[in-house]
């Protein structure tokens, strides 16, 4: 049998266990405009718990694009948590979006911020984030990100984080189930800390055991 070229496709009929059953590709060899997304997804598949490795950018990778693609990936993976919450988070028990007792979060997806129930907040925030990240107005290209649009990433992170916080404080079992499979909260917290996208006070889920006390002043 001659050596067949490796074709990275999930053809129809592929069994769930065989999905993505192809050898990893080196970033430098990825010949696609979607290489960054491919690379991140490959790293996540290889080991979702290796948070630092997943967040390490290849050399000379544009930081704006790196942050953008990671945020896209987080929003996509968070749908898994949203699906779990749809079953467990009822609008009559979680009538507002809260984490700890301190704050009620208003949903920014409406013309005027609205006090949505927790499940509505979760769905609207994820849908809104997807629309924003896909919008041609702010992100016309996936290969270079405008400076003016980079600031949008921070507010998306802040809102999206609250989904983790609500799940942690109010639906602990769902949160633990999800986190043990995906390690998403830990990766997200490490991501926003690494790139300064959120201030420490807002990170109220105690996910990083080795969270060092804040040295630098927060912007």
């Amino acid at each position: 049998m001659t050596e067949a070229p490796i074709i990275r496709r999930n053809r129809p009929g592929t069994k769930q266990a065989d999905f993505y059953g192809w050898p990893d590709e080196l970033f430098e060899e990825m010949d696609s405009t979607l290489a960054v997304q491919q690379f991140i997804q490959q790293m996540v598949r290889r080991n979702p718990a290796a948070v630092d490795a997943i967040l390490t950018a290849p050399e000379q990778q544009d930081e704006g694009v790196w942050k953008y693609e990671h945020l896209r990936q987080f929003c996509m993976e968070l749908n898994g948590l949203a699906v779990k919450l749809q079953l467990g988070c009822q609008p009559d028990t979680c009538t507002q979006m809260t984490a700890t007792e301190q704050w009620i979060f208003l949903c920014a997806a409406h013309k005027t911020p609205k006090e949505c129930s927790a499940i509505d907040y979760t769905r609207h925030t994820l849908d809104g984030a997807a629309c924003l990240l896909n919008s041609n107005k702010y992100f016309p290209s996936r290969v270079s990100i405008r400076e003016s649009s980079v600031s949008k990433l921070g507010s998306v992170c802040r809102r999206v984080y609250r989904i983790f916080a609500h799940a942690y404080f109010h639906h602990r079992q769902l949160f633990d189930e999800f986190e043990s499979e995906t390690h998403l909260c830990r990766r997200f917290t490490t991501f926003v800390t690494k790139y300064g996208l959120m201030t420490k006070e807002n990170l109220n889920v105690p996910i990083l055991e080795d969270q060092a006390p804040a040295e630098e002043s927060e912007a």
């Binding site: 067949a4 496709r9 129809p12 009929g13 999905f19 749809q86 949903c107 129930s117 997807a130 041609n136």
Partner: protein, 295 residues
Amino acid sequence: MKLWNLKRTIPAKKSAFLDVEPIYTFRGHVGAVLCVSMNPTGEQCYSGGVDGTVRVWNVPNSNIDPYDAYDPDVLSLTLSGHTDAVWGLAFHTQKPQLLSCSADGTVKLWSPGSKAPLLQSYAAEPAMGVPSSVDFVHEDCSHMVVAYTSGRCAVYDLETSKVVVQLESNQNVEGGAARDQLNCVVSHPTMPVTVAAHEDRHIRFYDNVTGKVVQAMVAHQDAVTSLAVDPNGLYLLSGSHDCSVRLWNLETKQCVQEITAHRKKSDESIHCVGFHPTKPYIASGGADALAKVFV
């Protein structure tokens, strides 16, 4: 899974195409959604996923506010039965029946509205392989056509589960190489013809009565992934991993238009194509996370 109202476009400054935002997001599957179908009235839609379930959804009104309250009743039913990824779905044009094919090796027939939704389960002989695509035979609705990853394809009688005709395949019996795979099969709306999309870049037309290949053509420069026939049976649409969508005149089998759409991700480009049932629109869905509608 997202629902779009094509009439609601977003004003964009200078653009050859219009941006549209989804009006509804269906969440329910655990893992990727692999196939979608709708019933002829557009009131219900169906999705099959990697998690092995088929879900029946009530389609919300097209004027819905995308940021409305969550209505758990949108998910009407979850059909569990398959034990592996569901890759293909087909809804009957006249009866409320749904066919699904899965990597678990079976094809199942469902009647989503009734008390016991699973009507029948069909398992093919192991030699046929794993089903990759399924369609009702439009011209004789007691039949279905199933395509397999082995490159084989057959028409079955839905009631007896017996093979009516095995469509000729020119692959080796022991072959089973990935190149032979059949990716998609569609039934012609009016003639006893089945059209099949192959991984080896061909589109083949089979006569449903004799099972023979009526015509074969190299349609694309890479695997052909999806097919759609317009409701009048005049045109065929094909999508391929070579990043192009092609429109073919079914009578002459000539390509009348080629549109380069979608960028490649790994080695995948276009996953599915479709015709609008009444308006002159065609659509394609790609690995680059874009769904495009062409006029």
